[in-house]
Assembly symmetry: C2
Homo-oligomer: 151 residues x 2
């Protein structure tokens, strides 16, 4: 290890590892204008800066919260505008925030149902082959119709 292990510049592979995305994806982001043209070193090879790492970190936050690339592109454009774009950035992020909160709420609801199902299944495993439970399904079945009038 060198005396300074925070290398000044990262190769595509290093960058990919550091950011948790493939080098291909980094190129794709650059093509799409999510990153400005990345600096180049010997033989026209990309060299990523610490700022690039930080910015890709932001991009990943937006992606992981399911922001579409199209909207990330718009965000990147607003960042390029500098201070002039701040108001719109707030607007964009707050709109996104609302969606993320909704998504999380839906996720939590679903998770609760899943937990409930696990619990029910567990119980049915704990004591199933007794006289009064044997042969009964423990799920709503996938479309089984109860006793009801003909369609």
């Amino acid at each position: 290890m060198s005396f300074d292990d925070t290398n000044e510049w990262l190769t595509p592979m290093e960058m990919a590892e550091r950011c948790g995305v493939s080098a291909e994806t980094l190129r794709y982001y650059e093509r799409e204008g999510l990153l400005d043209r990345v600096a180049r070193g010997e033989g026209n090879h990309r060299r990523y800066s610490a700022d690039d790492v930080a910015w890709v970190g932001v991009l990943r936050c937006l992606r992981v919260t399911a922001m579409p690339i199209r909207e990330m592109k718009r965000f990147a454009e607003l960042v390029r505008l500098g201070d002039a774009g701040v108001a719109d950035r707030v607007e964009l992020l707050e709109a996104h925030r609302v969606e993320v909160l909704a998504k999380r709420a839906a996720l939590d609801d679903a998770l609760q149902m899943i937990d409930h199902k696990i619990d029910v299944y567990r119980r049915s495993l704990a004591g199933p082959p007794t006289a009064d439970t044997a042969g009964r399904s423990t799920t709503p079945t996938l479309g089984g119709r109860g006793v009801r009038s003909r369609p």
Copy 2:
């Protein structure tokens, strides 16, 4: 309203509305084997039962938590097996649960960063054109390289 507003059977459109998915998607799920063949009424038209509604509710819980269709198919098969499939269902759901929890954690992390960014932007809007902040960018820029050695 009739004395019993829980209609016995639902048409595709009613079912779609009730479940929050398109009728096309319901057909797609049926094709994929996520639903058993749905009952038919006059003119071979589908008639969905209350059990179908419940089961599609389960499917939506799995989808909303990003379970791939392939795995939902497997879950449906395990449900078809009846009690014989319960142990595997528990296993499948618990594995999925772990992933959902991880996803939620990642989501919360990202959300925190987004909240932070909103906050920073807000501050820069509150008092920007003062002598000591004017002209400065409030973001890491999208790839701006600081003062550092050449690549």
